[in-house]
């Protein structure tokens, strides 16, 4: 029995694995979730609905726009028609969410290679594109990572002048080429193939039974994507394909992410071409938000999988009950199944292919 990890600075105290080994071979693995002591869900019951928005940024801190989106949807469900976002806001939301997906997958692919031992070139190439996207976030929302940009019934501020032009330039002329380059750089690399093909296999059945979601589920050949299965916002208007893999191994999870980025670029192209002028918020801007009693579950297809917010409101200023279904946490439950029979050296790569962020694992 070996206590393995934390092998990343951000996981200290929060995550390690108790691994049972027979020689080099894994015969048992128990993920040990520690504590970040952030208490997100309990604080969500103290905070008013609006005050909780910046806290959601910090769940999966690489995808704050997507986190905002899910939470806004949950509260909007309770508020009903009064909080229906105007057209322009809907477009902005989709643009931000898809940019987030690319940024997050870039990061994930870069660091998967890092976990596999390719220090550090692929990560740097991937981070470059992410940087450009974070610039866009900072320009529109004021922050690169803790965006706090969505409001119930729209977004916090309109896109600044010039923003769309730069976004268009990046989306139309740059990202496709860079994703191709990454594909060419990595997908056929024999060392990567050796380390990723047939490693960490999760069968279709297991992927469903562990209720995994996102690229982990789709890598195991389940074409389930909330943007198609239960469209939210205006996703039903866009053309895109759901990427799936066949074998459920590390390589497929990597490749699904790569294909998803291409699809995101496709959605982005449609969105930046179709975005209308107009208001960006339903109703008046106020901090006193009236949320009627009831319960709601708002969910989005976040880069790492289904991110859901369960809310119970008793009509007061704060939620009566607040719970987050976070993809990183749930995908981790399948880790043991993927690792059994593999060697110690594979564990880090398999963990990397899950693409977890610890802010979501312990709330």
């Amino acid at each position: 029995m070996v206590s393995m990890g934390p092998q990343h600075p951000s996981t200290h105290g929060v995550f390690r694995m108790n691994v049972r080994v027979d020689g080099e071979t894994i015969v048992g693995l128990k993920p040990v979730m520690g504590y970040l002591h952030r208490n997100h869900e309990k604080i969500g019951e103290r905070n008013t609905f609006l005050m909780n928005m910046p806290f959601t940024d910090r769940l999966d801190y690489l995808t704050s726009m997507g986190n905002n989106f899910g939470y806004a949807l949950a509260v909007e469900q309770l508020m009903g028609d009064e909080a229906k976002p105007p057209e322009r806001a809907e477009y902005i939301r989709v643009i931000m969410a898809e940019l987030t997906r690319i940024a997050s997958h870039m990061w994930s692919i870069g660091f998967l290679l890092n976990d596999l031992g390719a220090f550090f070139t692929p990560a740097l190439y991937a981070i470059e594109e992410r940087e450009l996207i974070l610039d866009l976030f900072e320009w529109a929302s004021g922050s690169r990572m803790m965006c706090n940009y969505f409001r119930f019934g729209g977004v916090a501020a309109d896109l600044p002048p010039g923003w769309l032009d730069r976004c268009r330039a990046i989306v139309e002329n740059r990202l496709d080429k860079k994703i191709d380059e990454l594909d060419e750089y990595l997908s056929g690399n024999e060392i990567l193939l050796d380390r990723a093909r047939g490693v960490g296999v999760l069968s279709t059945e297991d992927a469903i039974n562990f209720s995994t979601s996102g690229p982990v589920l789709r890598g195991s050949n389940v074409p389930y994507d909330l943007r198609r299965a239960a469209p939210y916002g205006i996703y039903d208007r866009f053309e895109f394909a759901v990427a799936v893999g066949n074998h459920g191994d590390v390589y497929d999870r990597y490749y699904v992410r790569l294909m998803e980025m291409r699809e995101s670029v496709r959605i982005l192209k449609q969105a930046v071409r179709g975005i209308p002028e107009g208001p960006i918020l339903a109703g008046k801007k106020t901090y006193q938000i009236k949320v009627p009693a009831g319960e709601a579950y708002g969910r989005v297809e976040n880069p790492k999988g289904e991110l859901g917010y369960y809310l119970v409101s008793d009509g007061s200023a704060a939620a009566y009950r607040y719970h987050v279904r976070s993809p990183s946490f749930i995908n981790l439950t399948a880790l043991e199944r993927m690792c059994l029979g593999r060697t110690i050296a594979d564990v880090v790569g398999i963990l990397g292919s899950l693409d977890i962020v610890l802010g979501e694992v312990d709330r």
């Binding site: 609006l50 940087e131 450009l132 900072e138 320009w139 600044p160 730069r166 330039a169 060419e184 024999e190």
Partner: protein, 235 residues
């Protein structure tokens, strides 16, 4: 493990990027000097004077490896970029805009704002802050206080170079530390300053100003930066 065409192709991409980086530096005139260096050719060891650092814009056309040699080079600061809150006083009359209405404290998610409302000698409430505190280490830079302040009094600053070696004394900002002039804000936020919303808001607040000033003076104390007492009780 076989080293095949995939690995070789990968190396070719790395080499191309490497060469592109040099090509870009030659194109931008950095063949013979350090990118973050001084103004002369061959200024390998000089650093630019503070405030005159090259601003590097990364847009869709940038190629090669991009690195910003901070602090000798900088990224542009976007107008909406937010760090910590500041309180604004108007240059023309030195008036603090804040009316101590407490809304910012109410919307602040980690609850790091608290204030003391000014009182006249008779004990009546004066719409000015006697003191105003923000615990900057608790502040999560979310900007909600600035977004929902009805008097345009609290704004987000862009200064991010805040390194310090002590927390308890220096990171609890009081009114003194928080005040900045409207000219400063106009300079850091030119778009917002000239926007129709903020212009209208300023006009509205200007009307009330005379009244507020009189009230405050009637209460036996001046207004603006100098008048706020330094409070040490909470530190």
């Amino acid at each position: 493990m076989a080293i095949g065409s995939g690995v070789i192709r990968g190396h070719w991409i790395t080499l191309r990027r490497f060469l592109l980086t040099f090509a870009r530096d030659v194109r931008d005139g950095f063949a013979l000097r350090r990118r973050g260096g001084g103004p002369q050719p061959l200024d390998f060891f000089k650093t630019p004077t503070r405030g005159e650092e090259r601003v590097v814009v990364q847009d869709a056309t940038i190629d090669g490896l991009f690195t910003v040699e901070y602090p000798d080079e900088r990224l542009p600061v976007f107008e909406r970029f937010r760090m910590l809150p500041v309180l604004i006083y108007d240059d023309e009359d030195g008036n603090v805009r804040c009316t101590s209405c407490n809304i910012c404290a109410k919307v602040c998610p980690p609850q790091c704002i608290w204030m003391v409302q000014a009182k006249s000698p008779k004990g009546t409430v004066v719409p000015l802050p006697e003191d105003f505190f923000i615990d900057m280490d608790v502040c999560m830079n979310c900007g909600l206080c600035a977004e929902y302040c009805p008097f345009d009094a609290i704004k987000m600053d862009q200064n991010f170079e805040l390194a310090n070696s002590e927390r308890h004394r220096t990171h609890i900002y009081s009114l003194q530390d928080l005040l900045v002039s409207s000219a400063y804000y106009a300079q850091t936020h030119p778009e917002a300053w000239s926007s129709p919303e903020e212009t209208a808001e300023r006009a509205k607040v200007a009307k009330k100003k005379g009244q507020r000033l009189q009230k405050a003076l009637g209460a036996g104390r001046g207004v603006g930066t100098e008048s706020a007492p330094k409070t040490s009780a909470l530190i």
